[in-house]
Symmetry: C2
Subunit: 476 residues, 2 copies
């Protein structure tokens, strides 16, 4: 705190030197920009974000929505927010449809018996206890499966083999993930016994990647699982031999009915516009397979470390910064939807206005791009923030940004502006939704850079001379 | 074949040019060295070794000793040897004590419930159906466990946490593997319920590494399993919190009694000294977890591709080259011991003398070093072979070499010389004995270089003007 005070003084002095030129400053006072730079320097010197990730993933471990471990996660987060001295620290409960994985296995029965590494898609129904057995019917993509004649998959296990591309921005995910969401019901429509998909992941290790599926109500639900990439390759090689390849899939997953879960949040109240909210978010829940270090322990670490730096400023920012750790993101943004539903439309008595939001939910950094979706009047402010982020190696873009998965429901409900601090996703899908998402994959220094970006963004957004919302959205 | 004929002609012509100088040739005629170089060029241009590895790992898959899959492996190897036109192609059966893994799981019960990724050590006894549960007693090394007071592990699960170093020659393995072999019985002597070891592997993925253990007959056998490296790290972090860490381990492994297995072999008969044998070996069996692509499908591919090139020479070498694919290496060199026992000491009626042997059992290459253990009279020949291997980037050393695991019993039984074509093991222990040992980890070009090394070595060893054996061994 003391250290920061002297840094602040240096920052204020900097404001009067030629180092920060008025032409660069744009809508911000030089002193405001100097604080942003000091925030960055401090984060880069060691933000402590890694320690938060370690504490969460070790003391709580995996924290699947609706489980006792998720509740342990809420307690952990409450304690951290309180330690940081945030205001209005609270748990906001909601209900989520629980799901439990249970034992799962698969094997090639012929022509060459061998085990396959599979994991059930989230919300998949179980197989009978002795599994389902059928010949594989392979499709390059979900579109190819959609083109299969009706009834042509009777007695078979459908296999959608779409490979995900490795891209810095994770752009390969969207193309591949459609098979996970829609695949099971579409395969069922053609008569399939079950669906296997190639894992939506970029690694070549025998970790299958889970993730939710969505059954259509108009067709019977069939079991659905992901194969690891090497297992999908092996299936292809056996199919290339020409004869039928018979596989048995056994899943013991079960729906757990409505369970209690929660969002956990705290805030730094704004000094001038406390009803205007800047949302800095991550999600607290994880899949059951790993310890959720990258997804989204890293995001939780970024949010908490950013909160600590921002809380230590000599004075709070103009607007309120709300730090939200959403629950049940993995099961369909359930916490974010509940947060939005509780505030939108109803006579809440609150005058609060959500100005802009961003979520860290793409691994452990570094942040490499910055984009935002704001009302036109705020565009110069976004450009100024982009310039302020550039010393971190961040490239400002002109594209829109969803702000992150949990930001979507808030943007829709509140017409809230969104900002995307784009984390480097080159390796993210090597681990995403696998048992291998563990602490050893997190690089503390990359995390520090991410904290520098999120914290300085939060400061500048909360200091903006103009509001960012409401945003008129015509796309989608 | 035709192509090779013309290359041979070029080789013979080279023998009369200054390119191969007499001073370099040493004990070999220039024409003999020219053939070695042609063998290398041909292998580097595409040896087809990868195709053998693919065929074995896809059509047969995992091939645990004593199983139907191992028998499928024998049939596969017989067919390959016959296709290559080798002589005396045969299966030599032996008996191995079978072992089956069964289901296996482990979990931290407190203070933070979470799954652990474990795999039983080979020959481990099972736990009761509901597992064994105990607090963890951690040791840095097996030596530290040996120093624990008698009875101090009563009711506990011992955990030996020795980390394996990543070294090019796999030198970290020996230091770590002692805990796997002796650990269970030593822990039992101190009263432990079960033993966990940190995986003997250099990766940081959640794959546990299996491998056999050896129980002492004077103490009750306790269940023993390996934790993946990230799981061992996690256990350490929880232990660092200070309180007890309680783990449940459940193994359903079982001894299968004596089962039939076999070595498979074929040879190129020597044109002058057919009773003198040069052994080029690999092992056909694999662990059950992966498809044994690196261990030892790669070795099998190297041996078969080398055999194909050597068989295509215009004339056979002076001595016989025997290509042996041993069985049950993973369960304790059972095939190699059976091979040696069948030939050593007894009145076999055979005049054959095993001159020198080497095994490819350290992944998919490239070969980076060459060492040998021969009688002193043969040292200049080894030096000349070292010079002939150097165009492949192979560094000749002056150290001894075991020749590979399965070569050991033959060397002991026959006083056989050994040669070590040292494969680059930098990454080998990332995959060794894990489910992740699959075809995608094999680089065809590195394999080609390894074929170049093994085939040209075999040629030169079989052409040597002097014999390599017997070797007087005083060490051990």
């Amino acid at each position: 705190m003391k250290r920061f005070g002297s840094l602040m003084l240096a920052g204020l002095m900097l404001a009067w030197t030629p180092v920060v030129r008025a032409a660069d400053a744009g809508p911000y006072a030089p002193a405001t920009l100097a604080v942003a730079r000091e925030i960055q320097e401090r984060a880069l010197a060691g933000s402590g974000a890694f320690d938060f990730v370690e504490s969460l993933t070790v003391r709580v471990g995996p924290r699947m929505a609706g489980t006792p471990a998720a509740r342990a996660g809420h307690d952990w987060a409450m304690a951290r927010f309180k330690e940081l001295g945030l205001a209005n620290v609270r748990v906001e409960p909601f209900t989520v449809e629980g799901w439990e994985r249970g034992l799962e296995s698969a094997a090639i029965l012929s022509p060459a018996p061998q085990h396959l590494h599979v994991t059930a898609l989230g919300y998949s129904v179980a197989t009978p206890a002795d599994g389902v057995t059928g010949a594989i019917a392979r499709f390059d993509t979900l579109d190819d499966l959609l083109s299969a004649p009706d009834g042509s998959l009777e007695g078979k296990i459908a296999f959608v083999d779409k490979k995900m591309a490795r891209l810095q921005d994770g752009g390969g995910y969207g193309q591949a993930v459609v098979a996970r969401g829609r695949g099971p019901s579409e395969a069922a429509r053609k008569g399939a016994l079950a669906l296997l998909i190639r894992s939506i992941g970029t690694d070549s290790h025998r970790f299958p990647h889970t993730g939710t599926t969505r059954y259509s109500p108009d067709v019977a639900a069939i079991p659905a699982a992901a194969l690891s990439n090497p297992d999908a390759d092996q299936l292809n090689r056996l199919l290339a031999l020409g004869g039928p390849v018979t596989v048995r899939l056994t899943l013991a997953s079960q729906a757990m009915g409505p369970l209690s879960d929660a969002n956990v949040m705290g805030e730094i109240r704004g000094r001038e516009l406390p009803e205007e909210i800047v949302v800095i978010a991550a999600h607290l829940d994880s899949w059951d397979l790993g310890t959720g270090a990258l997804d989204d322990g890293a995001g939780v670490g970024i949010v908490l470390a950013a909160a600590r730096i921002l809380k230590s400023l000599p004075q709070p920012p103009r607007r309120t910064i709300r730090f939200i750790l959403f629950g049940a993101e993995e099961l369909g943004l359930v916490g974010a939807r509940a947060y939005a539903a509780a505030r939108a439309g109803g006579p809440s008595g609150s005058k609060e206005r959500h100005q802009i939001g961003t979520e860290a939910d793409f691994g452990a950094g570094p942040v490499i791009t910055f984009n935002a979706d704001v009302r036109p009047e705020a565009r110069p402010v976004i450009d100024a923030i982009g310039r302020a982020l550039s010393p971190l190696g961040i490239v400002p873009g002109r594209g829109p940004s969803s702000g992150g998965p949990d930001i979507g429901p808030l943007a829709t409900a509140f017409g809230m502006a969104t900002a995307g601090l784009g984390l480097d996703g080159t390796d993210y899908f090597d681990y995403h939704h696998t048992a291998d998402d563990t602490l050893d994959k997190v690089d503390p220094r990359k995390l520090d850079q991410s904290v520098a970006a999120f914290a300085s963004f939060a400061w500048l957004a909360a200091e903006s001379p103009v509001g960012f919302s409401p945003v008129e959205r015509t796309r989608e």
